[in-house]
Symmetry: C2
Subunit: 109 residues, 2 copies
């Protein structure tokens, strides 16, 4: 089970409020949205949106497909698992640490 996406790119993609809003918009949308539709929800230009989409696509968070002259975007939450896995390592570490502290205290008692 090799890592499909770069965790650097995933963290970077999420480290921007506009991109997180785009992500949110695509999550709650009932269907794929075109670049123009997404642009309509923001104060930045279409090219700005395009760049954000590109970055998120490279991170695996968004998938796109062309239909006619339009380009539709939809969200793919899979890469979020990389972040969850990264976090889980430390949760486990601190959990184990607490447990061994408990064992230590039990022995003393």
């Amino acid at each position: 089970m090799s890592k499909k996406y770069s965790i650097d790119k995933i963290f970077k993609a999420l480290a921007d409020a506009n991109r997180r809003e785009i992500f949110h918009l695509l999550v709650v949308a009932t269907s794929a949205l075109s670049l123009t539709q997404i642009t309509a929800e923001f104060d930045i230009s279409r090219q700005g949106i395009t760049k954000h989409i590109k970055l998120m696509e490279d991170a695996g968070l968004i998938q796109t497909h062309n239909k006619g002259r339009e380009r539709f975007c939809e969200v793919d939450p899979t890469p979020l698992n990389e972040i969850k896995d990264w976090l889980a390592v430390y949760d486990k570490f601190w959990d184990d640490k607490l447990k061994s502290l408990g064992d230590f205290l039990d022995k003393k008692a």
Copy 2:
């Protein structure tokens, strides 16, 4: 319960392999580490490390204190909760969606 740390800064702090390694080093360390001690583990200069530490300190992921001529760093995992909270929103969203799909199918059956 207001958000103490900027989620932008937290994501940004973690979006760099060197910084994640510094974080890891400080997690597994049994005590606080000085800048020189941290620098010894990396291929970049002390000033480079200093800059990374600053960024992580601004994100709340590291706390520092001076002792004599040395500056000690230790990790603070609290800001990771901001990320967990952010992720949880979407977990809940998709969970609810699945549940209502289940309800829908139950009614049809």
